[in-house]
């Protein structure tokens, strides 16, 4: 691309626009069209796989093998038996996704509660109080956030084997907390910093101590950010795969949703359409949760990005 070929000094921009096929006009036209092409492309690319997921979950497997190219469902063939089979427990000729959902819900909720209980005071301390090692702590969190989880997986795997904690959900919860707390602290800290110090100082002058200020002033103000952080932790815990695979693979009754789907899709006995029903079941909660909190979450994660 060339340098800016600015029009002769003093010429009003209207003169440029009046020229029939100026570079400016051509480009405006092209990019105006390309913009809509791009929007359509991205919409298709992101939504089509999910549409395909839902579509395959309500089609009988014979129909899929017969007409693999169809993107429409024949209403007379529409079936929800796939969902029933996916959700039923193994003892009842199902695949046990309900158990997986239960396990994941327990793991994710526990992770959210504990991670928040740890991260809220931590974030407050980092944003408001000056103490020895405050800056080092932030660097430490960044490192943890960036460090490869597979490096971490080996010692934790060995440790849990030694403590015979493999197959229990507690080990998993601990790992998820450690993985999410640094980001949670970062998200919450950004928010705490937007609360005017004067508000808190007024409360201090009025006789509240620090903990009182946090509980009565800062926490109620930070509720949106706390919600966003909770959703973030929940999503990480719900979607995580590697540690679930390492810790729980021998115990089918403890499988989380991710592990369950991965293990079952490896076997040839389970029909694809049933597994698609399983995929829908594990994806829907997370996508709904995300849609309800999308604004909050995006802002929480990208705050600071717009400062350059």
């Amino acid at each position: 691309m060339s340098t800016v070929d600015s029009p002769a000094a003093g010429r009003p921009p209207a003169a440029v626009a009046r020229r029939p096929w100026s570079r400016d006009r051509v480009e405006r036209l092209i990019f105006g069209v390309l913009r809509w092409v791009a929007i359509a492309f991205f919409l298709l690319a992101t939504l089509l796989p999910f549409y395909y997921m839902v579509l395959l979950s309500v089609r009988p497997i014979e129909d899929l093998l017969l007409r693999p190219d169809s993107l429409l469902v024949d209403f007379s063939e529409l079936t929800f038996s796939t969902y029933a089979e996916a959700l039923r427990p193994v003892t009842d000729a199902g695949q046990g996704f309900l158990t997986f959902l239960g396990n994941s819900a327990v793991v994710a909720s526990l992770s959210v509660v504990i991670a928040l209980a740890v991260a809220i005071p931590g974030a407050y301390a980092v944003s408001r109080l000056s103490f020895f090692g405050r800056r080092q702590v932030s660097v430490l969190f960044l490192l943890v956030y960036l460090f490869p989880s597979i490096v971490l997986a080996i010692p934790l795997f060995v440790l849990l084997t030694q403590m015979q904690l493999r197959g229990s959900l507690i080990g998993l919860v601990l790992v998820y907390i450690a993985q999410t707390v640094p980001v949670a602290v970062y998200m919450l800290r950004n928010y705490f910093e937007t609360i005017p110090v004067a508000v808190e100082e007024a409360a201090l002058v009025d006789g509240l101590n620090r903990l009182g200020v946090i509980r009565r002033i800062s926490l109620p103000l930070a509720v949106p950010s706390i919600m966003a952080t909770a959703v973030f932790v929940f999503m990480v815990a719900w979607n995580e795969f590697l540690f679930a695979l390492l810790f729980l693979v021998e115990r089918r009754d403890r499988w989380t949703v991710s592990l369950g789907l991965a293990q079952l899709s490896g076997s040839i006995e389970v029909p694809t359409t049933v597994l698609m029903a399983g995929s829908v079941v594990i994806t829907v909660p997370i996508v709904l949760l995300f849609f309800f909190t999308e604004r909050l979450l995006s802002e929480g994660l990208t705050s600071g990005a717009d400062k350059g």
């Binding site: 800016v4 070929d5 029009p7 400016d24 480009e27 990019f31 913009r35 791009a38 929007i39 991205f42 919409l43 992101t46 796989p49 999910f50 395909y52 093998l65 693999p68 740890v118 005071p121 931590g122 980092v126 408001r128 000056s130 103490f131 020895f132 405050r134 969190f141 943890v144 960036l146 460090f147 490869p148 490096v151 971490l152 997986a153 080996i154 010692p155 030694q162 601990l174 450690a178 620090r210 719900w238 979607n239 795969f241 949703v257 991710s258 592990l259 789907l261 991965a262 899709s265 694809t272 597994l275 698609m276 994806t283 997370i286 996508v287 995300f290 990208t302 990005a305 717009d306 350059g308």
Partner: protein, 331 residues
Amino acid sequence: MPTSDTGTTRRSGATTSGRRQPTMAQREARTGLMLISPTVVIILAIVLVPLAWSVLIAFQRIRLINVARTGLFENLTLANFATVLGSDALWDSLLTTLVYTAGSTLLAIFLGLVAALALRRPFFGRSFVRAAMLIPYVAPVVAVTFVWKILLNPEFGIVNSWGRQLFGWDDPVAFLTQASGEISLFGLDIPVPTALLTVIAFEGWRYFPFAFLFILARLQAVPATLEEAAVIDGATPSQRFRHILLPQLMPIIAVLVVLRTIWTFNEFDDIFLLTGGVAGTEVVSIRVYELLQVQRNVGAAAAQSVLMAAVLIILLGAYLWLLRRRGEETQ
């Protein structure tokens, strides 16, 4: 107590006798330490100590069978590194990892940039489109890899059945199990690493929302006056992008490159779930997993993972050094 020192000096410098009545700064420092300690303890216990231990394990002869009985400093050896470094597959997998990382990172950021530019100005339904574009990133990785596997399935996947009908492919393409294929272009048969490219495409699809989100946030913070001035000066859209927007976006793009490089380099789930590491997609993290779970050689797995972290640190160090040197040159 070191805390009280820094606390008081940083605050006002006016130190009163802190023994009976701690100053406000001292009390703050104490509260701060109290509040931060749970976080620090958890990170020490579950991240830092295991990391150090991982390095130790890398120097131990330790297998899954004797893992419960091996003491902390028993069976020290260098054999693990000899095993890992002596393997021919290591260099292949390192190269695969580098190609995979560079390709995925660039593709994801490029797509994110295009998407952010397309969605920059408001239009009807923009918030819906914006939210929809984030779904690949938030949906469970296991579910999306499964859908991709079925989409690309040679027997009943829709991509192959459409490819044959619309584009006249002769044979179905085994996107995820074929190490190399050929594309006929102008009568030339160009060999391509099919599975690796497919995995890179998946990474671009799954992670462009992340780049999109950050670039869009930055785009919307670019002062409108900058562009207005450029319009008055007669700059065309492409010139405005090249000379006004891109310089504004470069810092966030540089950050995204670092983040995505780190995460893709360590990525395990996506490749493991899509191809299982076959057909020329065996990246280093898959090798670590195989050493651990298939060969059950814990020591070698740890050695491999430590090496992987070392390579990553060197790469990032070089990148940051380059960035700084370029920053100094322009000043």
